[in-house]
Symmetry: C2
Subunit: 351 residues, 2 copies
């Protein structure tokens, strides 16, 4: 029995991607060489990198004037790189704090300049998205996290600003249509909707770079990587290849618009059960509910043992809430089939 994998990340990817990636690790394109033993300067790998970049551009409608990069270090390294590249010397940045990841991001920015927190939902345990955002006119950029995996909150609209908008989209990129032209910088660790852990997607508007007035270490400088087509140093070959496979799958399925509809359907099914089943409560404010991470608690904690046993019996994997919040969290990323959500709902009804 294949399990229903609700892990928050790394997480489920399409079954065909697992199979194709495994095949390439033994024999890439019938070359009799493994994907992971060939030179990253070989024609085979350059064509993989180019296809991955082209798929990102196509699926997200990336306009001219943006660089698409595959880097390493996860979103955590982007917290630092975003500020290194966008914060001016003696500068200031505006951060919207929706918990955990935003908090970590602004911590790194504080090393390089002043940080104005222009919105936060800390007062209520980060269960909503702050709406009234006032951005100081002297902010060098505005930073936000589009979806919070831990609390299950998600921006439905993006703040309007004249300054470059930098957005950590690790947990909802490729799950819904976005207008890339509204952003200066988008970054996302691969390990939700794009591929395995080990690579980070960066989409950056070229014209906002090179203006910080600071000397940026080579590996932290987006311009270094953009000028070398993400090959300044050896890229994480397997993670890039497997991301490319996942993006191929998404394109075949109809692209971001098509998956968005499926994601809405899956989320509606689950939130509907939460709202109608008196044994469960939703965690996030209704209007800010994430389509990716559905967080909920038991109305009566004494049901826990039985619910956990039922879930296990049904093959539900990874539904425990984040250790900092407790309760339950069902992550229902792009590759999660409707049947897995149905299986969870069935268990909730059984309780």
């Amino acid at each position: 029995m294949k399990k229903h994998n609700f892990s928050a990340g790394p997480c489920i990817l399409p079954q065909e991607v697992f199979e194709q990636a495994a095949e390439a690790v033994v024999n890439l394109n019938n070359s009799n060489l493994s994907l992971i033993e060939i030179s990253h300067r070989s024609a085979d790998f350059i064509s993989i990198m180019n296809e991955a970049i082209a798929l990102v551009k196509e699926l997200l409608n990336v306009p001219e004037g943006y660089s698409v990069l595959f880097l390493q270090g996860g979103a955590s390294l982007q917290f630092l790189m975003a500020s290194y590249n966008l914060m001016k010397v003696d500068g200031k940045a505006a951060y919207i704090d929706t918990g955990a990841w935003s908090t970590k991001a602004l911590k790194e920015a504080k090393l390089l300049g002043e940080v104005a927190i222009v919105g936060t939902s800390k007062d209520s345990g980060y269960n909503y998205i702050p709406k009234e955002i006032k951005i100081p006119s002297d902010a060098n950029y505005v930073h936000m996290t589009s979806n919070n995996t831990i609390f299950g909150t998600q921006f439905k609209e993006f703040p309007k600003t004249d300054q470059p908008l930098a957005c950590d989209m690790s947990s909802d990129i490729f799950s819904r249509q976005i207008d890339v032209s509204k952003f200066g910088l988008i970054y996302a660790g691969a390990q939700k909707n794009m591929g395995p852990a080990g690579t980070t997607l960066v989409i950056v508007k070229d014209e906002i770079l090179g203006k910080s007035g600071r000397t940026i270490p080579s590996m932290l400088d987006y311009q270094t990587h953009a000028s070398k087509d993400s090959m300044f140093n050896t890229p994480p070959v397997f993670a890039v290849y497997t991301s490319m496979l996942t993006l191929r799958w998404l394109k075949k399925l109809g692209g971001v618009g098509a998956i968005e509809k499926l994601n809405e359907e899956k989320a509606a099914l689950l939130y509907n059960e939460i709202d109608n089943n008196p044994k469960f409560n939703g965690f996030a404010a209704e209007e800010d509910r994430s389509l990716m991470n559905v967080t909920f608690t038991l109305a009566d904690e004494s049901d826990k043992e039985r619910f956990d046993a039922l879930a296990k019996e049904a093959g539900l994997n990874g539904i425990n809430g984040h250790r900092s919040v407790g309760g339950y969290r069902a992550s229902i990323y792009n590759a999660m089939p409707l049947e897995s959500v149905q299986a969870l709902v069935a268990v909730m009804k059984q309780l």
Copy 2:
């Protein structure tokens, strides 16, 4: 026909590692879950990370008081991290320049303090290892590259110094016995003798950390990663797992001492042909020849077309020299079988 893969990195790994890694991408330990879809906080992955760390400690005889880390960003990010962690504010570091990688490493260090180049073979195109190294007593640390993949040079003895010795061992770690206690910091991109591209091994002496007097960004601070057992953020799961498999293979084979003998045998076979065949010249000074990357040129450039054709016919892959040097380079890492070296020698004799 399986090709003979002489690539400089990413490079050949044991065939059984390709097969085991591929199997895990489809089904890890018969869990019915893929290696790349499970949480990095799961018992399964924690046990993988622990085994990888334990194998490093065992195979290299790492003494107490050192942290073993699996990070991201390649040796290129270590160029920066080494100096961020070890260079004091207004400090100074001593760098030995054996070309390319050393040069890149010291470029990053210069952003943080003064760099004294205490030895260089730049005068003769980096074809030898500088021997007379005088280290200023006020250097915070000494930095070197143990093996240069491009020029095919390798330190046979390490400089003696009272300051922490930081060594980039990307291209020869696990290929020969070393005394870890003589080093403050060892780092190595995985993609030669340890595993696929996408993770970087760091072995650092705990007592040299926390003394720089500077605020280090979280992701660049070795103490961050050491305190979280390399799980401060999501690790590159596939690269760590496949490194673990490669280290298991090495242990089964008898460990570093056993592979060192095989490496010496393979290198001797090839250098012997270079020295005795008038159609070829070795590139590196004899006493500094690398056991990992064997660099040579044709005595008569007009032989190139024929030699390349013979090599292709024999299934020899990746023997072109680095674009900055030209000629030929046969990388004969741990996983390279003796038969592949014999195949190359046979082609050289045929010319």
